[in-house]
């Protein structure tokens, strides 16, 4: 169980903001922090890992105090046992895949598991390569093993998939799900990709300007449950074309682009970039074998 209450000043393009969070994460839970850039997501991860010291607050992990500003407790990074994966891979360029993993494995007894991980993550045959000789997805898989090899208490994922193309991204999402199911490690993912949030996490915290504004399961947070429509998605308007008495909207929903029509009345207050709920009765869609 992670219990956390922190306050820290952030410098954002809009000026000074306070990161002011009070939350708890159950042991073994997979949660996502969702929000725009500058909302405080990465700062939160850095504070948890011990890379940034908050001005005020308290962090307790499984009964152990990691940080307490009043009692002047601040556990150093090495003792916090967190595994961290960043957006851009941070592998040592002069070391091979295997050397990178060996270096991260502080406990020599765990060295034996390196081979096991290499095979499990589909990296067999690449262990002698330097990072610049493998793909972005492969690098992030190495980073994932590196984060897990020292058996951390918490896995922190800071948009690890955002630089990958769609195929590599889906593949790595599968790996993350598999690793999570196997290890049940408490995982905190930072993401602003809705499809990813729905796929990976059971619980999501929405952060806006340093504060948590919503939390719950992805569908509780992102889908308006007060509407009876069962064919219901959240998407973003990317194009609006007027044709006669109707508007044709192009929407980005998950990984798909769709078109729907809307009357001027429905369009009130909506522009390109607006997030919308698209709903139809469950009776309407036709189903064809793909």
């Amino acid at each position: 169980m992670i219990k956390l209450r922190i306050k820290n000043e952030m410098h954002t393009p809009q000026g000074k903001e306070w990161l002011d969070l009070d939350l708890s994460i159950a042991k073994g839970e997979f949660i996502t922090l969702f929000g725009q850039s500058g909302a405080g997501k990465t700062t939160f991860l850095r504070i948890l890992a011990g890379l940034t010291q908050p001005q005020e607050g308290f962090i307790e992990v499984d009964g152990e105090i990691w940080f307490d500003s009043q009692k002047r407790i601040n556990l150093p990074i090495q003792q916090r046992k967190t595994g961290f994966i960043f957006q851009e891979n941070c592998l040592f360029p002069h070391m091979t895949v295997r050397e990178n993993l060996e270096y991260a494995c502080a406990d020599k007894k765990e060295q034996g598991s390196i081979e096991e991980w290499i095979v499990a993550m589909g990296l067999k045959g690449l262990e002698g390569q330097k990072p610049d000789k493998i793909s972005g997805g492969q690098k992030q898989r190495v980073a994932l093993i590196r984060a897990l090899i020292s058996r951390p208490k918490i896995l922190l994922l800071d948009e690890p998939l955002s630089d990958l193309d769609m195929n590599a991204r889906l593949k790595l999402q599968d790996e993350i799900i598999r690793v999570y199911q196997k290890t049940r490690i408490t995982t905190v993912l930072v993401s602003h990709d809705l499809a990813e949030v729905f796929r990976l996490s059971k619980k999501v915290f929405v952060i806006e300007r340093g504060k948590i504004t919503k939390s719950g399961s992805p569908s509780e947070v992102f889908v308006n449950n007060d509407l009876s429509g069962k064919f219901k998605f959240t998407g973003e308007i990317i194009e609006i074309q007027k044709d006669g008495v109707l508007n044709i909207l192009t929407l980005s929903i998950g990984n798909n682009i769709t078109k729907v029509v809307a009357s001027d009345e429905e369009m009130s207050g909506l522009t390109i970039g607006s997030r919308v709920i698209v709903a139809a009765k469950a009776f309407n869609p036709i189903i064809l074998k793909a």
Binding site: D226, L227, S228, G229, K230, D243, G244, V245, L246, V261, S263, E265, E266, A279, K281, A282, F283, N284
Partner: protein, 135 residues
């Protein structure tokens, strides 16, 4: 999107779906939903709900006779028309509530719809969504 508010007067359910009758100022609307009172707490007699349905799902009839399977069929007057090449938007006055129907311009011409006409508007039960209203 058209929206009307009413009170649930009857919920008839099978294991996974319900036929809901809603009273809107004396007219009874029906909606079929893939919910039951067990899965949606608002499906109760006496609860206030909004009925929502797309303008393009509203049909218009003039001098209708004979039998028709549509249960949602109500009288209104035409307040105005906005014609475009393919589609025509028909603004209706239904018990002082605005209802919009978008039909093909061909149909609008065939029915010679004009402002002030008394018509009947129709919407299929499986096109009406329910939206929980705050009470």
């Amino acid at each position: 999107m058209n929206k009307l508010t009413g009170k649930i007067i009857l919920v008839e359910s099978s294991p996974h779906m319900s036929m809901v009758d809603i009273d809107v100022e004396g007219d009874v609307f029906s909606s079929i939903v893939l919910e039951t009172p067990a899965t949606a707490s608002y499906l109760k007699q006496g609860k206030l709900v909004a009925l929502v349905f797309k303008e393009t799902e509203v049909s218009i009839g003039k001098n209708l006779s004979g039998l028709i399977s549509l249960r949602n069929r109500f009288k209104a007057t035409i307040k105005g028309l906005e014609r475009s090449e393919i589609l025509t938007k028909v603004f209706l006055n239904y018990k002082s509530h605005p209802i919009i129907s978008i039909i093909s311009t061909r149909s609008a011409q065939k029915l010679s719809l004009t402002e002030g006409d008394s018509i009947e508007w129709l919407v299929k039960t499986n096109e009406v969504s329910l939206l929980k209203e705050d009470e």
